[in-house]
Symmetry: C2
Subunit: 227 residues, 2 copies
DNA sequence: TAAATTTGACTGATCGATCAGTCAAGAGAA
DNA sequence: TTCTCTTGACTGATCGATCAGTCAAATTTA
């Protein structure tokens, strides 16, 4: 009656239910009982498939982050193949989701965004470890992409620009309700201002003395990076 | 033996201890028992002073946010008195803490930043209510300040610029460890690049067609802000 | 059949909250 | 002064509820 679909059907049902409950209540606020109820399975089944609450939490991140990061990485690679990086294009890959990024493990993407936001601001060991294992890779690629697109950028400057951009993207994803409240009115879909904002911010840092590479004495850096 | 200092000494001790524990573990992760241990008082005393866990959580925000918002508001007022707003100055008030903002309820400011970050990304009722009551006021003032400094900005554009800036500031406050890891090296105090980044981002939005007020037919507002 | 999956019943630990009661300090009356 | 009475601050013990996790038995799948 339950295994009508695939053989992993209830495992996936647990993952999606956990995503919703974790997203809404956070790691500690969510309970295995409630996740089981949301997934309509017995609580013991969660432990059969995922052993512990923490492992279930991690499993969600591994599934989601790999899917999303692979997608962004592919688009970055595509840009790289076309020739030199254009900063605007790189920022667009970073900031704007590919239309197919939401549909693979259906729905729930907003819940995952909640989880990702909580993890990325958390300083507890679990959050730090998850960020390191799931996001440091793609982060370094974008930092390199920023440096390739704007050769004047120091690595430290590019790193901070990326972190700033992350903060902006998270706000764009999560704060549409608050934006409507603060601007006092109707709530259209969040405008794509973040691309222009990020691009201008990065370019301004590249012109700052502290964010610019020193090549010859005070001279503007001439060379692009080799490849 | 305990009331050697002020009459509110243990109440304040509880507040500071709660700040540390809530900051490290989050609302659900923190327990009244651990807060009581950290404050070195009986657990029942927490309920005596604050009634419930939630009320204790709220009390921390009321104390801290009022202090910080008042300080920023005063600096904004000071700018207003001096004449027309300069965008750079407004952004500096927003992004850079006054040196005395950390010292009043001593230490623990990093813990409070953790709490504030968790609340500002949370979509649960408690977080939303807290943001609304503690932060909407100062937010509207900064949005107005942005519009005064850059008259071309639509209210919607100014609102999103403010939210982006919030995301950037949070990253600058909380991600120094990750920045050091990603840039692969030593970790100086987080550079003040965020001011230039935010300023450039806002100015770029003001030049976007969607973020700019329409004055005459399609005509571009030509000048930068006076001053 | 054997293996994989799923369940209900259960455990010990810990949660937030409540309780009656202790203790020192202050107020008013003598 | 001394004796009562009240009050605010504080505590140890304990409540029922809920937590993550376990296990043997039942069910489904191959």
């Amino acid at each position: 009656m339950k295994a009508v679909t695939a053989k992993n059907s209830s495992r996936d049902a647990i993952l999606r239910a956990a995503e919703r409950v974790f997203g809404e209540l956070g790691y500690h606020g969510a309970s295995m009982r409630e996740i089981a109820m949301e997934a309509k399975v017995a609580q013991a089944l969660l432990h059969y498939h995922f052993k512990t609450k923490e492992a279930l939490y991690v499993a969600i991140f591994e599934q989601r982050s790999q899917l999303i990061n692979d997608r962004r990485q592919a688009r970055l690679q595509e840009l790289r193949k076309k020739g030199a990086f254009d900063l605007r294009a790189v920022v667009e890959v970073f900031a704007l989701p590919a239309p197919d990024m939401f549909d693979d493990p259906r729905q729930n993407y907003e819940s995952y965004q909640q989880m990702a936001a909580a993890v990325s601001v958390g300083h507890d060991t679990r959050s730090v470890a998850l960020v390191k294992s799931c996001y440091d890779g793609i982060s370094k690629q974008f930092i390199d992409a920023f440096m390739a697109a704007v050769p004047e950028l120091t690595k430290a400057a590019a790193t901070w620009c990326y972190l700033y951009a992350l903060g902006i993207r998270r706000q764009a994803e999560l704060q549409t309700d608050r934006a409507a409240r603060l601007s006092g009115g109707k709530n259209p879909s969040p405008p794509a201002w973040l691309v222009a904002f990020i691009e201008a911010g990065i370019l301004s840092i590249a012109q700052t003395s502290a964010g610019r590479k020193k090549t010859a004495k005070g001279r503007a850096p001439t060379k692009r990076k080799p490849q």
